[in-house]
Amino acid sequence: MPQYSAFQPKPYRPRMSPFWFLDRWPYFKFIIRETSAAFVAYFVIVMLVQIYALERGAGAYAHFQSLMANPIILVINAVALGSIAFHAITWFMLVPRVFVRHTMGNIVPDLLIAAPNFGVWFVASLLIALFALRII
């Protein structure tokens, strides 16, 4: 004869709302940071279209330039720049989180530890701008 217990054990299955990231500000910040990946993919496509238009001819390139001047595209580009820069800056600021911050008994400020990242960022951006604007 089978033995029945009064309390049936049930495995615990936590239910997660699809809007879990709205619960707390850090969760929301995490999702804002992660969605920048979509803008990376978007801008890879933009750059591909630019190369294609360049190869296609003067008319195609003029069309690409007028497409970039579209107000909706400008807004998307501004949001893309904002989110990718946010992702980059938060990544650069990780260095002080994983780095020993003591030098000769003193705590080195976070910004000073992350400073080389920002320096390289600035120099790299300057170089790319000089080439892209055909100054050098």
Binding site: E34, V46, M47, Y52, I73, L81, I128, F131, R134
Partner: protein
């Protein structure tokens, strides 16, 4: 099935990690110039001939190939996890992964084709 199957994640992670470096250091200036300052007229837009001359330089094409290919695999690797987390559909992880990586592979082929075919 093998009792201990190895994760294939490190392979994609190499592309993701290198892409993260490229995206963080080089993407913002490209978006700022091509996407905002040049269309708004705050920065000069070189004409097509001069841009084509820049594209004809093998070093430019090597740079663009590395930038775009690593960036798209970086985006694919992250979008896989972001889509699963954002929509809370982790059980569909394999399907999402397939879609992300197939798209990244397609873009990779497009990048190579476009950069090899420069006149």
């Amino acid at each position: 099935m093998a009792p201990h199957s190895r994760s294939h994640r490190p392979l994609a992670w190499v592309l993701f990690g290198t892409g993260g470096f490229f995206v963080a250091f080089f993407f913002p200036i490209h978006i700022l110039l091509t996407g905002l300052l040049q269309p708004l007229g705050f920065a000069p837009s070189p004409d097509r001939e001069s841009m084509l001359a820049l594209l004809e330089n093998p070093l430019t094409r090597l740079y663009l190939a590395a930038l775009l290919i690593f960036a798209i695999w970086h985006a694919g690797y992250r979008l896989r996890d972001t889509i699963c987390d954002l929509l809370a559909i982790r059980p569909l992880d394999k399907v999402v992964m397939g879609l992300c990586y197939i798209s990244a592979a397609a873009v990779t082929i497009a990048v190579i084709a476009l950069l090899v075919c420069v006149p």
